[in-house]
Subunit: 107 residues, 2 copies
DNA sequence: AAGTTATATAATATATAATTTATATAACTG
DNA sequence: CAGTTATATAAATTATATATTATATAACTT
């Protein structure tokens, strides 16, 4: 699943996660996204390209501006994949002793 | 949040996701994890180290073997962070027109 | 039309990641 | 204890990613 590669990879960067957190509050233009960061505009443009490529954001064209907003697709895909792990963890959670034993490595 | 960096970064690799999917079925040793992949043992060892560093797996010592299993911590952290995006998307979902407009980029 | 604003792209430097081969270590096996 | 098995580490290579500066483009403003 190449999409998951791109999505997880995009989320691995703290700047990109901060951008998404900002977009969770609502649409923003590129310059609005540049402002809070100590980083050049081209750097943010690139991050946005990565986020768009991963399906995490979408962009409109509005005059010379390109307002960005969150896109649902990649998040749904990730949720679905993580669900597999979540279920496995919940299932194995009965065997608490095993879990505890595993988590206390006998150095 | 450096943990999220490590966790998402670990999940960005398809081999590592496949390892996690295998571990969702239950504990496995390093050699058991090497077997299905067309990759050397050291390469898998490194992937396991990354997964362990990200808090996605834990390892026991059992003689010369190091059985691996899923760890709950990182998954919970990721779920929590993604929850923020999920909620934002759900909230904005009323404004369906906006969403549709945003998803149909006027090339 | 000239200047400005918003954004993108290119070139480049630097850093980080993934994989392989070779080798080390430590625990089992006979 | 010698050989084998399970795993880890190191060195080297190759590939990718990130950020910067410089520059391009396209739409607004006057």
């Amino acid at each position: 699943m190449a999409n998951l590669d791109a999505a997880f990879s995009a989320l691995a960067d703290p700047t990109r996660r901060a951008i998404l957190a900002r977009l969770a509050l609502g649409e923003a233009t590129v310059m609005e996204l540049v402002e809070p960061f100590d980083m050049t505009q081209p750097a943010i443009s690139r991050h946005l390209k990565v986020l768009e490529g991963a399906g995490l954001i979408v962009r409109r064209i509005e005059g010379t501006k390109r307002p960005c907003r969150l896109a649902p697709t990649a998040v749904a895909e990730i949720d679905q994949w993580l669900g597999m792990l979540r279920r496995a963890l919940e299932t194995n959670y009965d065997r608490l002793d095993d879990v505890l034993a595993a988590m206390k490595p006998e150095q």
